[in-house]
Symmetry: C2
Subunit: 405 residues, 2 copies
């Protein structure tokens, strides 16, 4: 049963006390100081100030990033979440806590944590199949390894930016198959990838893999991510060592980290597996870590897709087990993303290259405009909700970005 | 003309005052405190202590990593290097500075800087050709993009370890072409890659590429790197998104960062280019950034290869220009490596997969032992020198690692 807050909040708010995502903000009263905020409705609780106001230990909540809290481990995450819930539901705390609330409209949001390593997976069977058909026509769309392991690769941490940061159209080498040689210039096939990202809190030791069952000991929370992709640059560069400049110019992250604990009601069984997983990936007898997130992708304010995260073939728990199976260690702030979320239906695909089938079928809007890939000035927003307790929804912060030419 | 040090040092030491590489050490007198050291002969100057002893500003040299010094920019790098040279050559400083010298044997060396993003290139034409022949027999060994751009990909920063750190043999999925399905277990084809790595000091702004001519404004120094590779894991996983777990278990870095300024005499013209480079990569009229490093790879104390870095097709300046051509920004601590250095001759190849031609021709040692890939207990050392002033050589710190089963 979810407690009721003393705040004046719509009963069905996706940012009620059942959610309490963490972010980092600045506000006019202390402009240079980054502070940890907790979103509640359309307000932001200055968490460090609230802790001090109620006389609670505040060191982890007084940091300028979430990293110290994330590093503190699961039992601390639970204690802090319980304390926040108490402050926002027990009316006795209202006099102390209420002055620590700011309007969401009055704060600037920043990257909520320092990103250590960034890994991007490729876990949607529908997306991988669609891209295989588009990029490698005439071959089997899925490579032979696809159903044996969650394919992934490292991306660039230093160009992960918070939602709202403008994205400069990248330049690079582009070569269509018919061109005699590559040319250098702005990408003509700038795309989005709607993804769900998992943030590691508790580090692990080099040489010791993280078992499937230990997923929730290590993963602190969940964000939305737009893995902007320059398809023309990517197509020319990616054989044999994978995507590089086609991705590394910018990756946008939602400002609110939804605690994994807030997603207990969103857990669902993943799709049936066609290939028997090797033991370290075999979750058939484990607690399921499929997540029933309903994602929405909007282009210039119009919804263009509704990707269902529950259709992902590989779960985040399997991805973490795979990522560490070779002994690679985890650091606090490691971020790994699902890969583009695409469902089976055409209007549930999470990238323009799929939605327009490589540009052959432009999206047509009621105002008569069309899109194949992104044009300068286009704005993309990705949002999501998930089932919460008692019929409530758990809201994710949007990840938005506007293309600058 | 190089000044003469007041230290008792062999005249031809590769670690004379013409070199002065930076590292980070701990020693018994202050065991918990990491300190910046400068190698001179077989001694280490406690740089922060020396600065204080001579009454010089010491903040950058009193840090626990090189990052603050690296971030300070090229004019500061020159000033600090000039000061270090003066302290070690002007006999008037001897009474103050000499007590700040420790024996190399008495210190523990650590990772000299916090690594931000790590990128690995693939810049040796001989290596790429050999691997193409081995991995993709019957196809053109070089992919069509290879001579148009320096192919690279992001690796894992969190598993970069300092020389001397034991390397645990990784487990993973392995599948030989004839196997019906992959199995999970220890890599049976554990290999090395002898590489040269470049460390970024001065950051850059997102959206603004770094021109070829600005290479030396951004790159602080040069290390040796062993990009340990599990060939069986890599072969099964790498299509279509590139190497991942076959590399991410460990990457070893030499403890000493040779300042780029110490390598002025090592600069040579790169090989003639067969394909005209696009303007952002065209260094034909620029100052050359080929580097004449003589590398030596030893397995259990026996030299198995002498890769010549001057044969690399793409230079580090071209790699940096490419890495940022899409607007990706640089952070202090970004590290990028050359890819395996292999020369044209069989005994100049920088990886066992090439030296043994995919294990078909084992290396045979005088004691009757053989090697295809690495066995538990094997120790690999990579060392290098480069031309310095007046016929001297510039030494690099070795990068070593022993395989633990």
């Amino acid at each position: 049963m979810t407690a009721t807050t003393w705040l004046d909040l719509p009963a069905d708010s996706p940012f009620g006390v059942h959610n309490l995502p963490y972010g980092v903000f600045t506000a006019a009263d202390r402009p240079g100081r980054r502070r940890i905020g907790v979103r509640i409705g359309d307000r932001v609780l200055d968490a460090g100030a609230a802790a001090r106001a109620v006389g609670s230990p505040s060191e982890l909540l007084d940091a300028e990033t979430l990293n110290p809290l994330m590093a503190a481990g699961r039992s601390t995450w639970r204690e802090v979440r319980a304390a926040l819930t108490e402050w926002l539901t027990d009316a006795a705390h209202r006099p102390a806590v209420e002055p620590c609330l700011l309007d969401l409209a009055d704060v600037s949001l920043h990257l909520p944590f320092e990103v250590a390593d960034y890994v991007d997976f490729y876990a949607s069977e529908h997306h991988a199949t669609n891209l295989g058909k588009i990029f490698r026509p005439g071959s089997e769309p899925l490579t032979p390894n696809w159903k044996h392991l969650p394919i992934g690769y490292h991306g660039r941490s230093g160009t992960i930016v918070v939602s709202g940061t403008p994205v400069t159209r990248p330049h690079g080498q582009r070569k269509a198959p018919a061109d005699p040689a590559p040319t250098f210039g702005p990408s003509r096939r700038l795309d989005i990838e709607a993804e769900v990202a998992f943030v590691v809190g508790t580090p692990s030791t080099m040489g010791t893999p993280v078992a499937l069952a230990d997923f929730a000991e290590h993963v602190f929370g969940v964000c939305l991510l737009n893995d902007w992709s320059a398809r023309d640059i990517q197509a020319w560069e990616y054989v044999p060592l994978g995507p590089f400049l086609g991705k590394s110019f910018a990756t946008s992250l939602s400002p609110w980290v939804v605690p994994l604990e807030a997603l207990q009601h969103a857990r669902v069984a993943p799709p049936a597996r066609d290939v028997e997983p090797l033991p370290y990936l075999d979750d058939r007898d484990a607690e399921p870590w499929g997540l029933d997130l309903a994602i929405e992708v909007a282009l210039n304010g119009r919804t263009v897709s509704r990707p269902p995260f529950a259709t992902m073939y590989w779960t985040a728990a399997q991805q973490l087990a795979h990522l560490t199976a070779n002994g690679a260690s985890l650091r606090t702030g490691d971020l790994y993303a699902s890969g583009t979320v695409s469902g089976p239906e055409p209007d549930t695909r999470g990238a323009l290259i799929e939605l327009t089938w490589n540009g052959e079928h432009p999206l047509k809007f009621p105002d008569g405009t069309e899109r194949t890939f992104l044009e300068d000035g286009d704005e993309v927003s990705i949002s999501a909700t998930a089932p919460g307790p008692g019929g409530l929804r758990v809201g994710f912060g949007e990840v938005t970005g506007k293309i600058v030419g």
